[in-house]
């Protein structure tokens, strides 16, 4: 197991370095931050002066080497806009995104698993169809559109929730629903498939033969086994929640990491973009590794392989 963990760690570091090189290369090849900093109406002289002042006129590999050297020492650079360390900016914004991500994945599990179980208990019935339709609809509606619909109904018409902001706990309800709904179909389908497979297994037939009550058979015996793949998928979905909340944070004015990413892209704030992309990819790397480790723990065949 230790060897497996070390392998995963080495792979994670390699992926992180590749992501940083790729990001730096793509940003450097496509963006002249001096033009973005100077603004639409700035003169050519002003732009050139800023280019030289910020060192954007140096070759890309030198800019990357400087950045990488600093990053190794824990310094992700300074945002030319905020005038603050990028690590501080991220530390300020991360709690909102983490809170939103945790709530959203909880919502997705809370809705997806019961829907999957019900659909498996009543396969190919109208209940199954309704459960599937709810899940598919949730994934099909664009986040932006769904967010505005919720705002109009729950905040403007019914006045049950605040329209935007993060000042109260209730401010997170609508963003949680929108973001969480995206993950429901995957969790629901896997739960349903897992339950259907498990319910065919010999040990379930034995459980029925022993005269156990349906609740015990479904939830104590079947669901525990059916959830093994769901756990793995949920960890990946959690990474999606943390990295994919740009639209939701923007619509609900939550000012988390997603908003920071969006704004830094608009401003061509390269140090912030570089760090945020690294953090987002870090989420995927960590959660993918976590998913592998959980799977390995639950299923010894993966460890051996």
């Amino acid at each position: 197991m230790l060897k497996f963990l070390l392998q995963r760690l080495a792979l994670a570091v390699a992926v992180a370095i590749c992501v940083s090189i790729l990001t730096f290369g793509l940003l450097g090849a496509t963006i002249d931050p001096a033009i973005a900093i100077a603004g639409e109406d700035a003169s050519a002289e002003k732009i050139q002066a800023l280019r030289e002042a910020f060192g954007y006129d140096k070759p890309l590999y030198i800019q990357y080497a400087n950045w990488f050297g600093s990053a190794l020492q824990g310094n992700l650079g300074t945002s030319p806009y905020f005038g603050l360390d990028v690590s501080k900016l991220i530390a300020d914004r991360l709690p909102v995104t983490m809170k939103l991500g945790a709530l959203a994945i909880s919502f997705a599990i809370g809705l997806g698993v019961p829907l999957g179980v019900i659909a498996a208990i009543y396969p190919n019935t109208w209940i199954d169809r309704v459960a599937l339709s709810v899940a598919v609809l949730g994934q099909a509606i664009p986040n932006f559109w769904f967010s505005l619909l919720l705002i109009i109904v729950l905040a403007v018409q019914l006045e049950l929730l605040p329209v935007s902001g993060a000042s109260t706990a209730s401010s997170y309800v609508m963003p949680m629903i929108v973001l969480g709904t995206n993950a429901v179909p995957a969790i629901m389908r896997l739960t349903r498939t897992g339950m259907l497979d498990t319910l065919q297994a010999d040990f379930i037939r034995t459980a029925w033969a022993k005269g156990l009550r349906p609740r015990q058979v479904f939830f104590k015996h079947a669901l525990r086994n059916a959830l093994i793949p769901v756990v793995a998928v949920t960890t990946i979905q959690a990474a999606h929640m943390l990295g994919g909340s740009i639209v939701v944070e923007s619509v609900f004015a939550l000012h988390g990491l997603g908003m920071l990413a969006y704004e830094s892209i608009l401003r061509s704030d390269i140090p912030t973009m570089q760090a945020v992309i690294l953090i987002f990819s870090g989420f995927f790397i960590v959660f993918s590794a976590l998913s592998d480790i959980i799977n390995a723990y639950l299923d010894p065949r993966i460890r051996v392989a």
Binding site: T30, D32, A44, K46, Y81, V163, V251, R267
Partner: protein, 507 residues
């Protein structure tokens, strides 16, 4: 296009509910607090390090400058300066107003002016204001209330430029660097910052000690809360719910829908941002550039149905422009050659120029795609087959500077209500100049070196009249800005469409 459709769908839903939503509980008037939203996030409240429009709005409330451009008349008036005198064409002496207090109680002196202006003129400080600072030479203190500014070259717009540079207390950047004013903003403006959540929300409170001679006057509303709400749909929902009293940059279709709500006031106003089309008259893209021929440039100018685009797409208070400037700007001539929409004439001009079957050309743009597509439709109709090169500003600007773009759609705003702030960039032999007309460039240089307004006006007019007659560039139309506010509120906005809340009033 998908975004547009989504917006239209949103508008439709919002429109439907506008009439249905009951009276919003606008809290603003009852607690004398104006709640406004801005779309663009504020990275740094320091305008020297963040030139975003939201920062420009905040700056004028928290800080004052030496001079002030009146938002309603565009007149230049002294603010922190009590008077000024040009000693020679590159030396300016300024007397300061006495008794002006910063928000922390300190008195404004010459040290603050010297510190601020010397800071922003130093390239090592990496200041990134849109307005040029290159013209500022050494600034020295003559006595506690008098400073001398040496200019690197004669600069006619010096006083107007000084109206957009807020004055900071001496030593501002010593401790926290460029984050100083973002963390602890201190100015002499009509509002002080009472609470701050950087990038999210700013609570301003009327500054009781704001100097009485200020051209901004005493702020009428006690508190202003400015929130950053990026999505227009969310802002509108907040307005309908009563959580906000004022928003701007509302799209025309959404503004139209909101007019149905009797509790909201919707205003439309043309802004000083001008949309334009620039043609490669100098042949920088190659000797065979069709735009080298005057008849081709004039054909393009006659081919575009500018009024049609304004009516159908821009809407609101937008106006077709004839001179390459906004009419309210200093130096903008009214009597220039006009190009009426006449596709038949345009087609015959193309034939005369040797292009009876038209030609193919790329049109480059970084904004306003629907307008650009309408222009392409007009050009295609007379045989000019256009291909859209739609991209971010950054790569387009680089290619434009290198002379690789034959036809460019863009927009420009003067910032200081004077044509001298942007015309040299287009026609003064800069990297962006696609006309390369020696005479026009020299006239603009003469205008920008003189401190005599009559001389400046004469040269600006001569230059822009020739730009029009030679059709080097086609001014299209002014931009339109839609404002939505509670019925009980009145807000003054400037020619750029930005709000001046210190002049806002409850009705």
């Amino acid at each position: 296009m998908a975004k547009l459709s989504m917006r239209k769908l949103t508008s439709a839903i919002l429109g439907t509910i506008c009439a249905a939503v009951g009276t919003p509980a606008f809290a603003g008037k009852s607690d004398d607090t104006l709640r406004a939203a801005l779309q663009i996030e504020i990275a740094n409240l320091d305008t020297y390090y963040d030139s975003a429009g939201s920062v420009v709005v905040m700056t004028r409330h928290i800080w004052d400058a030496l001079f002030y451009i009146d938002p309603e008349t565009s007149d230049l008036r002294p603010a922190l300066a009590a008077g000024h005198k040009f000693i020679d064409e590159t030396t300016l002496e300024i007397d300061l107003r006495r008794g002006v207090k910063f928000h922390d109680g300190r008195e404004l002196t010459a040290d603050d002016i010297v510190y601020t202006l010397n800071w922003i003129r130093n390239p090592q400080n990496k200041v990134r204001t849109i307005t040029s600072t290159d013209w500022i030479g050494p600034v020295e203190k003559l006595d506690p209330y008098k400073v001398r500014i040496k200019m690197t070259e004669p600069t006619a717009l010096a006083l107007r430029f000084l109206s957009v540079f807020p004055i900071y207390p001496a030593g501002t950047y010593d401790k926290s660097g460029i984050a100083a004013m973002n963390l602890n903003p201190i100015g002499t403006g009509p509002y002080r910052v009472a609470a701050i959540e950087p990038g999210k929300q700013y609570t301003l409170k009327r500054f009781a000690d704001h100097y009485s001679e200020s051209p901004k006057g005493k702020a009428t509303i006690e508190n202003v809360v400015v929130r950053i709400v990026p999505e227009a749909g969310t802002q509108i929902a907040e307005m309908l719910r009563g959580g906000l009293d004022w928003i701007y940059m509302v799209s025309s279709d959404q503004a139209e829908q909101l007019k149905r709500n009797r509790n909201l006031a919707v205003e439309s106003k043309p802004t000083s941002r001008m949309m334009y089309l620039v043609m490669d008259a100098a042949g920088r893209t190659g000797e065979n550039s069709p735009f080298k021929k005057l008849q081709v440039r004039r054909a393009v100018s006659h081919a575009i149905d500018r009024q049609g685009i304004v009516t159908a797409l821009v809407q609101g208070g937008a106006k077709v422009l004839n001179a390459f400037c906004f009419p309210q700007d200093f130096g903008c001539p009214a009597d220039v050659q006009k190009y009426e929409y006449d596709p038949k004439l345009a087609k015959s001009m193309l034939t005369e120029a040797g292009y009876p079957n038209g030609f193919s050309v790329n049109i480059s743009a970084w904004r306003d795609r629907p307008y650009v597509e309408a222009i392409m439709g007009n050009l295609n109709a007379i045989g000019i087959k256009t291909t859209l090169n739609y991209s971010n500003l950054t790569p387009l600007r680089e290619r434009w500077n290198k002379g690789e773009l034959p036809l460019v759609y863009g927009s420009i705003g003067s910032q200081v209500d004077d044509v001298g702030n942007f015309t040299p960039e287009f026609f003064g032999k800069s990297e962006r100049d696609l006309a390369r007309d020696d005479e026009v460039a020299e006239w603009l240089r003469m205008a920008n070196r003189s401190s005599d307004e009559a001389v400046r006006r004469e040269f600006d007019h001569k230059a822009l009249r020739k730009v029009a007659s030679e059709a080097y560039a086609l001014p299209l139309f002014s931009d339109n800005m839609n404002f939505v506010m509670s019925q009980s509120l009145s807000v003054v906005t400037d020619s750029g469409g930005a709000p001046h809340f210190y002049r806002a009033k409850w009705k």
